[in-house]
Symmetry: C2
């Protein structure tokens, strides 16, 4: 047994206690009133990096303020690759406490599951590469490669300052590739190499009609109703086939390659399990594509929210002054967020009936679609480790959701991002009763320790550049 | 000058003070926490009826509780008609106080306008027939006809108990016709006889999709989005021509008669003024009909509210679990509320795409469309009075809004309702800065006193029955 592995085994109880201590800090970045908690979480993380043996640990402020990035490094493996480990210490708000079986910030381990907000996303995952660093440094005296850590506190609010931050710290963050500890696996048995994520752009549409809510009896029938107008506009976004009806939306979309389709066919995927997870009796979407192709390889336009009039508790029979919707598109290569947004805006404006005024506000937080080459050296290392740890080779998967940082790291640092994390789809991230499997927590520490070893291929000049 | 007229002139200042005192009571029936105010308002009204000389004044409880009906009568004109005066002492909630120029329950008279919640709807109007009764009884010693008053406190919540109440008190409320002090005139210069009101029915549509809000990245593209489904369903309610696309919706709709169309052509109506009031630069609606025909003679389906997702302040990129809308239809003869609701429900269900579950809840508070014959004796009396008071003959108008009590009085008591009130469309009823013109308030007292005189035609058996 390698020294690092003996160290992980010997310190398991302490590591679990530390994980629970970290989960007790309600580091909710999106709600006011948690700035002290964010400070406590950042300080906890910094101390934890130092305790693991990382060096030059510090807080790096982010443009426009807010929780800082916690940085640490260990760069004593000359001639070996440098990886930049990414994770985040902020969490989603707990939402309605009545829906939680346990208090969200009082972690409880029940039947192999550690329940708490952030257990899976991302505190539980984020600690795994830190424990693995400590095991190598304390067990073996050195790491087999160079590591840097970039742990941010604003992921759950869309990392608004991160682009400027990465540009500003381009030299400090230089690396051969990024390893993201934010993500997951396909199932407890089946590991996966994540080859990419969909991009994102968002719009708010405001349809204005009369100067104020009108009496629907006095004016109804002669004044355009903004809800009718908005419904017509939104209904026009999709064809009955499920295809997006926005002209130009698919202009730059790469047709799924034979290789992509073949890879997806290799993913053990159960429609029944997917439907059970969604809680629907029937699936929908674009004809001509499998379910996995729809969520991984095809772009979407989804309306996320709509509102007008007095809402669920009112009973006013008004012809409302305005109606509003928020939409997001999930994008695939080679769509460009601004172009997709503009196409949707133009379509909505064309579909607006007379008698209303349409304004469109493009939402911040866009993301380019991201793909990492299948044969990237980081992927090869991850694949070898996952095959060892899970006892079966990983399949190749994609994410339907968006990971803006991946495109940022490539755009600014010129490096790809290998996703290496252990969350599973049923772990209620962003919902009540979030949990992380203790089996994943254990497996992930060993996997990270092995990843450091397998990533230890000699550098051949600009290792990354040749693999893009 | 008749004695009643001298009395009105002599007591004008006191009547104004009383109107202001009544407006100071925040008798908001739809908000909790106002039950004491509702009691105070009911007691104020009862005392005011007694002070006017009305007899047998009492509170009559309404089924299911809530503010009572205040009743009073004066029945000492044998052989003369009996009219039942209808009004309501409850008011709409003030809404956002920031939008008011004056405190809503501190009446202020500025430039000929009395500002307060309820000034026009309906406290200011409701007092006019009471002042006129007092003027006759105190000035002349007797009224020229028999009167009963039914003043309710639940109009603004849809008069839920009134049908049962009228049935229960059928004998007490028997009359030749009803005079409603809830309504208005066309303008300061142009009086109108109101020949009817549109009916009403309402539905709430709930579209359920996944078991919870889903991550739009993980599931978007493969799970039906309830907002998309609802938008498609709502967009299908109207054709581009503005015509309602619901099969069967027009089945019982009477085509506008030549007489109706001729009457409407006689209404001095300014599209520019209507547009200014609505705050729109362009009108909309069903092709082939004038604006007045659209709002008075044609039925509508209007969506009054829609909601799904986290609303204006959220930013969750969810595929929401459900989406909701509230709709109302304005109905014209001979549509039946339940049938119109059922037709809309059936249409919405047919239009629902696969992958969602639709439930429909029919809202209480429906109303039959109402028409009173042009030559009804109450209309003839009202027409004579209005011609006198305004110095020009009234035109014949309709209301686009709904007055459920009219159809109730006809259905249960077998009598028609003459609308005789003095509000104007720009007086912000239900909105901030509601006001009532002091000129209308003065004119209305004299008009009611004259109406009592002109309605004083000898009874010929069942006066009403022959005129229906």
């Amino acid at each position: 047994m390698p020294a690092w592995e003996a160290y992980l085994n010997a310190h398991r109880a302490r590591f679990l206690g530390e994980t629970e201590a970290f989960l007790r800090i309600p580091s909710v970045s999106s709600l006011p009133g948690h700035s002290t908690d964010m400070d406590r979480a950042a300080q906890w993380v910094a101390r934890r990096l130092e305790d693991a043996g990382l060096e030059k640990v510090r807080f790096l402020p982010v443009a426009h303020g807010g929780p800082p990035v916690v940085y640490g490094e260990w760069l004593h493996a000359p001639g070996r690759p440098t990886i930049l480990v990414y994770g985040h210490y902020d969490v989603q708000p707990p939402g309605d406490l009545a829906h939680w079986s346990h208090a969200p910030f009082e972690p409880v381990a029940v039947a192999g599951r550690l329940y708490a907000r952030g257990a899976s996303d991302d505190k539980g995952n984020m600690l795994l590469p830190i424990f693995a660093v400590e095991a190598w440094l304390k067990g073996d005296g050195a790491l087999p490669l160079n590591v840097k850590f970039l742990l941010e506190g604003q992921e759950e609010i869309g990392s608004p300052g991160l682009p400027a931050f990465i540009r500003e710290h381009r030299a400090l963050l230089s690396c051969d590739w990024v390893v993201s500890a934010d993500g997951g696996q396909l199932s407890e048995e089946q590991p996966a190499i994540c080859l990419g994520a969909r991009g994102l752009c968002g719009l708010q549409v405001d349809v204005a009609g009369p100067c104020a809510d009108l009496h629907s009896g006095t004016f109804g029938g002669a004044v355009q109703n903004p809800i009718h107008a908005l419904s017509t506009m939104l209904a026009s976004l999709h064809r009955a086939s499920g295809r997006v009806a926005v002209p130009g939306f698919y202009a730059k979309v790469r047709a799924p390659s034979h290789r992509d389709r073949a890879l997806l066919r290799g993913v053990p995927f159960s429609e029944a399990a997917f439907m059970a997870l969604a809680g629907v009796g029937q699936l929908a979407g674009e004809t001509g594509y499998t379910v996995l192709e729809r969520v991984w390889l095809r772009p979407t336009v989804e309306v996320n929210a709509i509102w007008s009039g007095s809402g669920p508790n009112g009973d006013q029979t008004v012809l409302p002054a305005s109606a509003h919707a928020r939409l997001t598109c999930r994008l695939v290569p080679d769509q460009i967020p601004e172009e997709a947004s503009a196409a949707v805006e133009a379509h909505l404006r064309r579909q607006a009936p007379q008698g209303v005024t349409v304004s469109v506000h493009h939402l911040p937080g866009g993301a380019f679609p991201y793909r990492i080459p299948e044969e990237h050296p980081g992927n090869r290392a991850a694949a070898a480790v996952l095959a060892d740890v899970y006892g079966r080779p990983p399949c190749h998967a994609l994410m339907g959701s968006s990971v803006p940082v991946c495109a940022l790291f490539r755009g600014i640092l010129g490096v790809n991002t290998v996703t290496f994390a252990f969350g599973l789809d049923d772990e209620n991230i962003h919902g009540p009763d979030e949990f992380f499997r203790l089996s994943s927590w254990t497996k992930g520490q060993r996997a990270y320790a092995l990843l450091y070893e397998h990533s230890n291929l000699p550098r051949s000049g600009k290792g990354e550049a040749q693999s893009v």
